[in-house]
């Protein structure tokens, strides 16, 4: 299969006062459709930074990122917003669900943002059905009206995965999705991700758990700001 994502010569550094911290120094990597790749590396090695850049949440200082032929590094902010909304699903370590919305509404959020006020009225029914079936797949069919703070950690993360999938993204990015969970619950989340991958979902995940890394199809090791394997 062809490359879905190709990054070349990615540099990123942070400046704080007089000090400059170079985190990424020429990352080269690519991802094929259907991959389940895992980024590992020491804490502070820049895994999250790289994931954010690949998901168009952040911009590299230097380098090119091509997503299915589109150059992310050349896009305007407006186009990047649209790109993230349509093509990328994020799963974060701390779930980041909105307490003001219930589980179903949290899952619908990306679709509502995509549709805009007028479009939403037209597609509401379809999207809602899709959200409900996603939540069913995540085993949350009886928690739709609940607020996120009424859910357990694992349930929250599964709701967050449903939210990441609602717009049918080409790429799912997960930053230590099990980092905040006990190993058994974490295992459940991994099973969900594995299942999604088997259905064709391309996944790029950050972890520093070696056991998880061993199960993955592909391991990308980040060290000293570069990919070493």
């Amino acid at each position: 299969m062809g490359h879905i994502l190709q990054a070349k010569g990615i540099h990123k550094s942070y400046t704080m006062g007089k000090q400059t911290l170079t985190v990424l120094r020429g990352v080269e990597m690519s991802l094929s459709a259907g991959d389940f790749a895992v980024i590992i590396g020491a804490s502070g090695s820049g895994k999250s930074t790289l994931l954010h850049i690949l998901g168009a949440l952040d911009k590299p200082d230097k380098g090119t990122i091509e997503f299915e032929g589109q150059r992310l590094d050349q896009m305007s902010n407006g186009r990047l917003n649209q790109f993230r909304n349509q093509n990328v699903g994020f799963v974060f370590q701390f779930y980041h669900l909105l307490d003001e919305l219930n589980v179903l509404e949290n899952v619908l959020l990306p679709a509502m943002i995509a549709a805009g006020p007028v479009g939403w009225l037209q597609c509401k029914k379809n999207v809602q059905n899709k959200a409900i079936s996603l939540l069913e797949r995540m085993g949350l069919n009886d928690r739709l009206p609940h607020k996120p703070y009424e859910l357990s950690g694992g349930e929250r993360q599964r709701a967050a995965i449903a939210r990441a999938l609602i717009n049918g993204p080409r790429l799912l990015l997960a930053d230590e999705p099990t980092g905040n969970l006990d190993s058994k619950t974490g295992h459940g989340i991994l099973e969900v991700l594995n299942e999604l991958n088997q259905q064709g979902q391309t996944i790029l995940m950050v972890t520093h758990d070696d056991r998880i890394a061993r199960q993955a199809g592909r391991v990308i090791k980040l060290s000293d700001g570069k990919i070493v394997s």
């Binding site: 949440l57 407006g78 917003n81 649209q82 974060f92 980041h96 943002i113 006020p117």
Partner: protein, 450 residues
Amino acid sequence: MIGLKLSWRYFLHRRISILAVISVALCVFIVVVVMSVMNGLVNEFKEKNHRFVGDCVIRASSLTGFPYAAEFIQQLEKQSFVHAVSETVQGVGLMTRPGSSWNVGIDYIGLDPVRHSQVTHFAQTLGYHADHPERAFQPSYAPEMDGCILGIDLILYRRPDTGQYDSPDRPWPTQRTISSFPLNPKGGLARAGLDMVSTKTFYYSDHSHSGLVKPDGRTIYLPLEQARILSGMDAPLVRSSTIHIRFADGVSVADGVRQVQQLWQTHVQSCKDKPYAEMLDDVRVLTWQQDRREFIGPMEKEQLMLTFLFLMLGIVTVFIIFVVFYMIIGHKTRDLGLIKSLGMPASRVAAIFLGFAAIVGLIGTAIGMTAGCLFLWKINAMENWLYDHYGWRVWDRAIYAIDQIPNAMEWPVLACVAAAAVAACLLGASVPSIQAARQSPVRALQVSQI
């Protein structure tokens, strides 16, 4: 859609938003109540002043008066923009009660009650002759005698608590003697020796209640010709103190006064060669506002001051709202990061919090307005209750010359206050909202939740 939903949810979920609503409501309440009462007092006061004089007043600046008024009045009465004209003679004097040692300094105004009532609301201020000003100077108990109309506080007792006067059904027989120094056209005493002072006794025929402190408290109205004799304006040259003019319907005060000024210039020119023509130089043609400036001015200044104070209150409100939003958005930074990571453009993110501010503003304004209107509606009842139970009068009736606290609500004022309150909320929220919306999503997500 989602923006509005989030605005509303943030509003419901943040207890601090209740504080914001309360602060907006309180400010709106105070502004509405005080502005309405103050506006009411000022308008009522201006209205009373306008009713006391004509739309235009031609006034001598000296107690000696000015000559040749009759010709000018005839000329004015031919003008289509003039409705009615009335001249007066004014002077200062001493008032005594025959057979008593009591005396008091007064202003006397000589006028024709019928003509003066066509120009001003004079007839309506009368206690017994509102419908028959032509008989205002005929004492009912001695119709053949010369009557006088006393300022109401010179004759009747006003109850300090209710502000009402103890007024009998008809004037009772009593007399007042007025003494005055007649002045010659040069401003000197008209007569010498024992005859230096003019004195005449008048019979109480009516009283006048204008609602203005000075006319009600120290003015006595006399028949025009009697006043002329008292003041010395009868000879050797007939003089007057003022000419009051009421304009025809639809003529603006400014327009009318401009025309009178032109006519007056011509009149002064035509009198140039007559004796004492120089007395006309000290005569001014004024609008009613200019003529009553001395009284209206301080009130307007107070109003301006109050408006300024409310402006400061407005700034405080904006600042409170600003702080509230700063805190709320500080609490919500990670949410904002998330929403942006899901692809919402910065403008829509800012709109969420501006929507939130608009909700706070609208609800706060609605509560403040409702409370303010209710308060105004019941303000007199509440003030009376305070007086009945604790003997406390918030507004002294005698000082403010009012029967009731004015509580008319003016829609333009209410609309301005409401618009300003909502605008203040949006202004207070705009800085933190825009700042939050422009934040990079990665940064916002890294912020630890407060």
